[in-house]
């Protein structure tokens, strides 16, 4: 045995304490960017932009998008895409239009049917994804398109107005601190989802399934059941977003809701860079929606052209994520 020269290096120090500034910076970077936007627009338009009415309007009017985003982050967490969310939303609001406004059903049975439609769509998605083992992207794209067809059919392509005023009141007219109730429903839902994902075993199982299907199965997690439930919950929440949509517009039309799909995905992914970076999370999604809408609102108030909104939206999305990546030293994001 030949002993080579020995080195004398002290042992590596124990791991540093956990709460570090950088990590906190990463978590709250987007919140900071949001505040910055508010300050800038506030300086430019101290009267109109900084009014409580402006904020209450912003908060209230984006509740639908927030709810839809909250819906899709659930399958995203368990590793599936739900591209049918916007179609479910539109279906649910159209059912309210058809049953309540056109055919004169009472509000309660109408809402039950509307939410049930979300459950059914979620179940159909789950069936095709899980029984046939098809990629969720293609199933939900197909099912979404099919549902769009159903919507056109039941609505005869018409916009239907005259949704029960009591729904409208409970969504957008009645207020707390001047903010329409819809905002608080969305916030409540975000809190519930946050709690479930963070503080219950069920929520963490969702995350486990999303990060490793085989490993989860090996550990006794009923993976298929978890994925099916997450599709169904996503469907029901999207249908709930549809209820709020009908309540907000007081009407239902067969197409406009579909435009919320990409904004919802954008908010979900942007939200995953904040609060709990690297995980789809409820309050991250909420903040992303309001960050983006604050920019758009400010620009509109300044009288910017429509295209500027697109420039801001696309630019802000990419830049915000890029900055948050800089903060975390450009480690690759792993969501699923």
């Amino acid at each position: 045995m030949t002993t080579l020269e020995m080195s004398a290096k002290p042992a590596a120090p124990v791991r540093a304490p956990r709460i570090n500034l950088k990590q906190e910076g990463e978590r709250f970077a987007l919140v900071g960017a949001w505040l910055l936007l508010i300050v800038i627009f506030g300086i430019l338009m101290p009267d109109s932009f900084l009014s409580w009415r402006n904020f209450s309007t912003m908060f209230g009017s984006q509740a639908v998008l927030v709810v839809l985003t909250l819906g899709i982050i659930i399958p995203l967490t368990s590793g599936d895409f739900d591209l049918s969310g916007a179609s479910t939303l539109t279906m649910s609001s159209m059912l309210i239009g058809v049953l309540n406004a056109r055919d004169g059903w009472g509000l309660a049975p109408t809402l039950v049917i509307a939410l049930a439609s979300g459950l059914v769509i979620g179940a159909v998605n789950a069936f095709f994804v899980l029984y046939f083992r098809i990629h969720s992207l293609i199933v939900t794209l197909g099912v979404g398109t099919f549902v769009n067809g159903l919507i056109l059919w039941i609505s005869k392509s018409q916009t239907i107005s005259g949704v029960s005023m009591s729904l409208v009141e409970w969504v957008i007219i009645n207020r707390l601190f001047g903010i329409p109730l819809a905002f608080f429903y969305a916030l409540l839902l975000a809190a519930v989802i946050w709690y479930v994902l963070e503080y219950t075993i069920a929520g963490r199982r969702l995350l486990f399934v999303g990060r490793g299907r085989e490993v989860s199965r090996l550990n006794g997690i009923p993976v298929d059941r978890v994925r099916a439930i997450s599709f169904i919950i996503s469907g029901v929440i999207a249908a709930l977003a549809g209820v709020f949509y009908a309540g907000m517009t007081g009407s239902a039309d067969p197409l406009s809701g579909l435009n919320l799909l990409l904004p919802a995905f954008a908010a979900a992914f942007l939200g995953a860079t904040t609060i709990s970076p690297g995980r789809f999370n409820a309050f991250g999604a909420v903040i992303s929606v309001y960050f983006l809408v604050t920019g758009i609102t400010g620009l509109t108030m300044l009288g910017a052209d429509a295209y500027v909104q697109n420039l801001f939206y696309g630019g802000a999305l990419v830049i915000a994520v890029a900055l948050s990546q800089l903060v975390r030293n450009r480690q690759p994001q792993e969501f699923s």
């Binding site: 045995m1 030949t2 002993t3 080579l4 020269e5 020995m6 080195s7 004398a8 290096k9 002290p10 042992a11 590596a12 791991r15 956990r18 963070e198 503080y199 219950t200 075993i201 069920a202 963490r204 199982r205 995350l207 486990f208 990060r211 490793g212 490993v215 989860s216 199965r217 090996l218 550990n219 006794g220 997690i221 690297g278 792993e334």
Partner: protein, 516 residues
Amino acid sequence: MSDNAVLHLNNIRMRFGNFQALKGVSLSIRRGEVFGLLGQNGSGKSTLIKVLAGFHQPEEGSEVILWGQTMPLPLNQMEIKKRGVAFVHQHLGLIASLTVVENMRVTALGTRTPWFVNWRREAKRVAEQFAAFGLSIDPFATIAQLSPVERAFVAIVRAFEDLKASDAGYGGEGILVLDEPTPFLPAEDVKRLFGLIRSIVASGASVVIVTHDIDEVREITDRVAVLRDGELVDILETKVTERQAILDTIVGSRIDAFAKARGVEARPPAVTVTGIAMGRAAPFDLSIGEGETLGVTGLIGSGFASLPYALFGAVRATGNMVLDGRSIDLSRLTPAAAQALGLALLPGDRLGAAGVGSLSVTDNITLPVLPDHRGLLGLDRPGMLRTAGHLSELHDVRPRRPELPLGSLSGGNQQKVLLAKWLQTKPRLLLLDEPTQGVDFGARQQIFSALDRAARDGTAILCASTDNEQLEQICDRILVFARGRPVVELRGAEITRKAITEACFYSESQTAEAAE
């Protein structure tokens, strides 16, 4: 069948598609014994364990009797867990991107309030559990941040906790099932693990352990069952059976261990590395002769494991390497450049870093030699298939169907394919990281002789491993690392399993003293 059996497995049959993985295996585990499960790769050990875990559903007629009660088919995973059978699966069953405490708790039994989890408190409890085993692992670190040993410990501790939380656990009983827990562990930790196993067996629980290491088998088990091709061949009392007899039973016929003809003559250096430094360790020099097989080893964390990656430009390192008279700056080296220089790296993580499981054997095996398969009309696909077929034959890859996805081969065969991939390029320097981890005895000997052939053709080989038996069998020279640099060199006749083990601990304690 013995009277005090806690678990009977009767006539377990399991099929994947039209492949019969288990052909009616029957065995029983007694209270308070350590039961070994042996067999070549793919003989069905993990499958049997996964059937017991309820992960795979066996065919009709199979019977699992736990504490005298027949478990209804399909088996319910949670039910089995609750009744006191806890598992450490072959690949540990941990999610790398999640934290230790999440991995410990989410799938564990006995989380008292599933509707409210206080993660801080759970982390404290987890830390206490680790402390009871003398471990200090940060509960909030992600699994990916841990070393392989620490990961193994997380999985093992989790299984212990499951056992304690189960119905049977309250009575101090239960069955702990370990599927190859030791390849990750250095000798010292294997000892600790065995100490642990003995202590729980003493409390009345039973342990089932799968391993390819015959010495471990002889040290810890009371009885062993040997599987071959999905059938139970024999059940042996360890105490009264010879080492060679066990080996022969596993293989089904006699296989002699590969023995290297070690040359002692000085060889011209193929590669000379000067001033290499990885991480914060001080720089050192190193050279490997033509046709020489150099082993690098040490305790886990001593820094030898990243050496092959550093020389290939796959991890950050500084220093200089001279190869064929050319001088290469390691800090600028990329894997592509290294490959162009005639280097080859076989990473330890078979399907995560070495090959793609969803692509065919042909695709994987021809990747580094694609330029040779260029014809007038682009890649010669039939030619590639032929090449893959020849290589499969040369290295005895089974089944010899190169169009199958790599992932559907058994671990040993995957390893043969990946080794064949690099050997066909006739590399100047072949860098290996645990080349036979989890590979059965017979396949190992085949891999060793293939390596030896390459060495005799002039390839210099660097093999990083903690498997002392393997190092003894193939190395001409061994460097033992401590604190990021080589501290002991063994050569020629000095190389024995025992000497390597001693060197590892000796060097570690010496460097630790020197540091004080």
